[in-house]
């Protein structure tokens, strides 16, 4: 070892010594012969034959020691670089192909890394969990009630820390301009549960986190800089939230958030109105907790289930029989996209395989003419291992260069893609080319270099002797079979990707054509933060809405406007329990759910929802008249099969008994094609019949929908004016057109479609290069044969049939394998994420059309080489022999 090192540094001396020793050896052998009377020349010749020449012996001795591996690797590398420089066309195509493959993989990996793998940015994030209630009968998880949380706090918990929070939005009216802000009600230990410190100030005290506590708030770093210029004197100053002077006690670190949304304002959850805080049926609180060290998820689950059972036993008014579900904190955040990202990772892996097959094919094609070179090196004493190493060095050099270029491409492509697609992904802002991505790209490059280099290297280094004898004609037949197999694999893989992209494309087509149950064109939606001074009582709110709507309806071009708590396809979920007539279940947990639209009389006109039976709610339905409800066809079909629901009673616990007065068409509330675990039943009640208790806080979950043929940009300034005229401190926010909302609801399909579609295009390009290169190469190899055939009377037609037939045979073999693989793989890939809608995973029309595309591309790729083959002049071709 040290001898090796020493001799590496003192290589010159060691080499000289070895030379001297060897020369001495050979001279002594020759002298011996000369003593027996042979001439000097004859003696030297026979010694060379018997003992080996100086050069070969030196090569043999040197290549046997480990230090020579380092040295020869360096030699190999320089030689490889020289070889590549000598064929710049080959090198640039190979490097470019690899750059595309490695770049695409690196980009997708950095998305997977940033979204799925990277830990959440909190202290010991592995111990952080979210705790949910789980309605086992309806199979849907739900949040807890604040009452549950307070009971949990008194129990012996498997958690080191636990805290509650509930999303809530606020209207900030001072300092600065009125603005609508997203925020959260939190319990006192919220930030310490995450293990995140504040930039300034402190968390809420337990005294503040209870009913009657002083109004205090913690604000985001952004809001602090925006409203207080980033000045530390902000602590102790007040801001006006929903009309209440609230003291700032803390400022967050920049960038903190939990979940997908940023919150700017936090207030103590304990300050809720007592009626809300004690309502065990109001499931609006999320719970995040930090497991005690060493406690497993399942242990925590068991312990919490026992606690919840105890609560149920002691409190008859609770929603009985809900189980506990504890998830790692990352799960709710990324659970939805995991399948999609794995699908993309699979797809991009296929692209890499195609790229590798392409480069392997190029290498094989190149190695045939190089067989001569290898034979000579073998004859000069290089072993097979040495030649394989040389070839692997070449391919690794190619792949590393490709990797470097690919990294640059990934960086650039990722930036471009994220600019448009980041919003479709949770943690989209966490995607970077970081150290682990670099590591991945490096490992991938090396692995790929060995993968595509090994087969050609082993092939070319076999049976070197015969080639030398033949004078340079390589064993092309075998090469050819390997190359054909690689092209077939490429075509098959490309078909799989095309099929995947085709299925997603058809899905999007179906989604666009799907009947939504309402007309999204010309509908505009937004929210309004009502002026806090004008909504002290329920009657105030009803009046405020009527006044607001009157002003909006007077705007020229507005054909109708209404308020509603539910806008289709925005993921709002006001799922409320109900029962029909006297079928009251033993526990509320067992009651079916319906999506409750709390709206005004004009809702179905604005949304263009068909009225099927009876009437919709009207101006005459008020707090002073009997409660009435309208149900959709889905609820009518399920709970009144074959009967007339009109006049029957539907009961919403805590809200009241409603008489059914009409049936309307079903609306697609969840995204189309998404098999929602949530209810499909829908019912509509009048906002003007809602009890005062809920009316004063209803504005944060109420939307205005309006119908106008005008462009949003034209009508919005008028709407803004109308909102401000109804109250100068009123805010307008979340402005979106209904077509935008519908389009956004397709993001889960659109995102993979765009990515898989671009991969499929890339694959098609690579595969067509592959076919072209192979046919073109084989024509070059067979010019002689073609010449003989033509000289023997073959027609151009026959040549055409022979060459084009070869290309098409490969294509159809690839198609046959590809279709089979696609039938299996697309089903497998798409089972990661249920993305398809209106089209089966083995849709024959899709498979047929992508096959046609592939055949067309193959024909184009074959065209040039086939034309060249047909123009072969037999005389010219034969003269070269």
């Amino acid at each position: 070892m040290f001898g090796g090192l020493r001799s590496l540094f003192r290589k010159k001396r060691g080499e000289k010594e070895l030379d001297e020793e060897l020369r001495g050896f050979l001279d002594m052998a020759a002298e011996e012969k000369m003593k027996q009377g042979t001439s000097r020349e004859e003696a030297l010749r026979s010694v060379r034959l018997e003992r080996g020449s100086l050069e070969i012996s030196r090569e043999v001795v040197r290549s046997s020691s480990w230090e020579s591996i380092v040295e020869t690797s360096w030699q190999d590398l320089r030689f490889a670089a020289r070889t590549l420089r000598k064929s710049p066309g080959f090198a640039s195509i190979a490097i470019l192909t690899l750059a595309l493959g490695i770049g695409a993989n690196t980009a997708i990996f950095s998305v997977v890394q940033g979204v799925l793998l990277a830990p959440l940015p909190y202290h010991e994030p592995d111990r952080l969990v979210v705790v949910l209630l789980n309605n086992l009968r309806l199979k849907s998880p739900t949040y807890l009630s604040y009452r549950d949380f307070m009971d949990w706090e008194r129990a012996a918990l498997p958690f080191e820390k636990m805290s509650a929070f509930a999303w809530r939005s606020f209207d900030l009216s001072s300092p600065g301009n009125p603005e609508h802000l997203e925020g959260s009600e939190i319990s006192s230990s919220f930030f310490s549960t995450f293990g995140v410190g504040l930039a300034l100030g402190r968390e809420f005290s337990t005294e503040e986190d209870r009913n009657g506590g002083a109004p205090v708030t913690i604000i985001s770093n952004g809001l602090w800089r925006d409203r207080f210029g980033g000045n530390a004197s902000a602590l102790g100053k007040s801001i006006v939230l929903n009309g209440v002077e609230t003291t700032v006690v803390g400022v967050l670190q920049p960038g903190f958030r939990f979940g997908t949304d940023y919150a700017d304002v936090y207030i103590p959850i304990g300050q809720r109105k007592l009626a809300d805080a004690n309502d065990r049926l109001a499931h609006d609180v999320e719970c995040v907790a930090r497991l005690k060290p060493g406690v497993s998820l399942s242990q925590a689950n068991a312990q919490m289930n026992a606690i919840q059972e105890n609560i149920d036993r002691l409190n008859s008014e609770s929603e009985q029989g809900l189980g506990i579900k504890i998830l790692p904190a990352k799960e709710p955040l990324v659970g939805d996209v995991r399948g999609t990202l794995l699908l993309l990772l699979g797809a991009v892996g296929v692209v890499l395989l195609i790229a590798c097959a392409n480069v392997a094919n190029l290498l094989l094609a190149r190695s045939a003419p190089r067989t001569h070179e290898f034979s000579i090196r073998a004859a000069l004493g290089a072993g097979r291992g040495r030649i394989v190493r040389q070839l692997i060095t070449e391919s690794v050099l190619l792949s590393v260069l490709g990797g470097v270029l690919g990294l640059a491409a990934a960086e650039w492509g990722l930036k471009a893609a994220l600019a448009t697609l980041a919003a479709d992904l949770p943690r989209g802002d966490n995607i970077h080319l970081n150290a682990s991505v670099l590591f991945f790209a490096m490992g991938l490059s090396l692995g790929v270099g060995i993968l595509f280099g090994l087969a050609p290297a082993l092939r070319s280094s076999k049976d070197l002797q015969p080639t030398l004898k033949e004078g340079g004609r390589g064993s092309t037949g075998r090469h050819h079979r390997t190359q054909s197999a690689l092209v077939v694999v490429q075509i098959a893989l490309t078909l799989v990707l095309l099929a995947g992209a085709g299925l997603l494309f058809r899905t999007i087509q179906h989604l666009w054509k799907a009947d939504l149950g309402f007309e999204s064109q010309h509908v505009l939606t937004f929210q309004v933060g009502l002026s806090p001074s004008a909504i002290k009582t329920g009657a105030d709110v009803r009046y405020a809405y009527q006044r607001l709507l009157d002003r909006i309806r007077q705007i020229p071009g507005v054909q109708g406007a209404e308020i509603t708590t539910e806008v289709p396809m925005t993921h709002q979920m006001n799922a409320i329990p109900f029962w029909v007539d006297s079928h009251r279940p033993a526990s509320v947990a067992e009651a079916p759910r319906t999506l409750g639209f709390i709206t005004g009389p004009d809702f179905i006109q604005v949304m263009n929802i068909p009225l099927i039976r009876g009437r919709f709610i009207s101006q005459q339905d008020t707090v002073n008249s009997p409660l009435v409800a309208v149900i959709d066809t889905e609820l009518a079909r399920t709970y009144f099969p074959g009967k007339d629901p009109i006049g029957r009673t539907i009961t919403f616990p805590q809200v009241g008994d409603y008489r059914i007065i009409g049936v309307v068409g079903h609306v697609q509330h969840w995204q189309v094609g998404y098999s929602s675990p949530f209810t499909q039943n829908q019912s509509f009640v009048s906002i003007y019949q809602i009890q005062d208790r809920w009316m004063t806080s209803i504005d944060t979950w109420t939307w205005v929908v309006l119908r106008t043929p005008l462009e949003a940009s034209i009508v919005l300034p008028e709407i803004r004016k109308a909102v401000h005229a109804a109250g100068s401190d009123q805010t307008i926010y979340h402005t979106q057109t209904m077509p935008e909302i519908v389009s956004e609801s397709m993001a889960p399909q659109r995102f993979p479609l765009i990515v898989v579609g671009s991969f499929a295009t890339l694959a098609l390009l690579l595969a067509s290069i592959g076919i072209y290169a192979l046919i073109s190469y084989s024509v070059t190899q067979r010019v002689h044969e073609i010449g003989i055939r033509m000289a023997l009377g073959a027609e151009k037609r026959d040549v055409f049939r022979m060459v084009a037939g070869q290309g098409l045979t490969l294509t159809f073999a690839g198609l046959a394998i590809g279709v089979t693989a696609a039938l299996i793989l697309t089903r497998l890939l798409l089972s990661f994420a249920s993305l398809l809608y209106g089209v089966g995973a083995s849709d024959p029309a899709t498979l047929a059309s992508v096959s046609a595309v592939l055949i067309a591309v193959a024909v184009v790729a074959c065209y040039l080489p086939v034309r060249r083959a047909m123009r072969v002049d037999p005389i010219v071709a034969l003269r070269y022999e």
């Binding site: 001898g3 001495g24 050896f25 001279d27 002594m28 003992r51 012996s57 090569e59 001795v61």
Partner: protein, 113 residues
């Protein structure tokens, strides 16, 4: 001509190392001396080419079984002389024992009817 194995280099690696050690056990020798001595002792069965011989020398030297020194030969030529180290002597003894056992065992197998 004495009969020669088709490829003298085909000697089992361990065997060549053992034979070299045995040759050097008598006295320090240079490379050619070792080759000639081996040929004589084997009555021409083993004819070594320079490459495999010097690979073996390097291997043995790296393992610390032999050491080398430049000296003048009887023909006043400069040559590197190889000699056994203590470790090399021990190794030779243990290999001889092992070889004896193996040969006896192989002979028993081959002669068993």
């Amino acid at each position: 001509m004495p009969s020669m194995p088709e490829k003298p280099g085909d000697l089992v690696q361990g065997t060549l190392d053992m034979l070299i050690l045995k040759t050097l056990a008598l006295q320090p020798m240079h490379g050619y001396g070792v080759a000639v001595r081996l040929e004589q002792m084997s009555q021409g069965v083993f004819r070594l080419n320079a490459g495999s011989l010097f690979v073996a020398f390097q291997r043995l030297q790296r393992a610390g079984l032999i050491k080398s020194e430049w000296k003048a030969t009887e023909n006043s030529r400069r040559a590197k002389y190889y000699a056994l180290t203590d470790q090399g002597r021990k190794r030779l003894n243990s290999e001889k024992r092992e070889w004896g056992k193996q040969v006896a065992a192989i002979a028993r197998i081959l002669e068993a009817s």
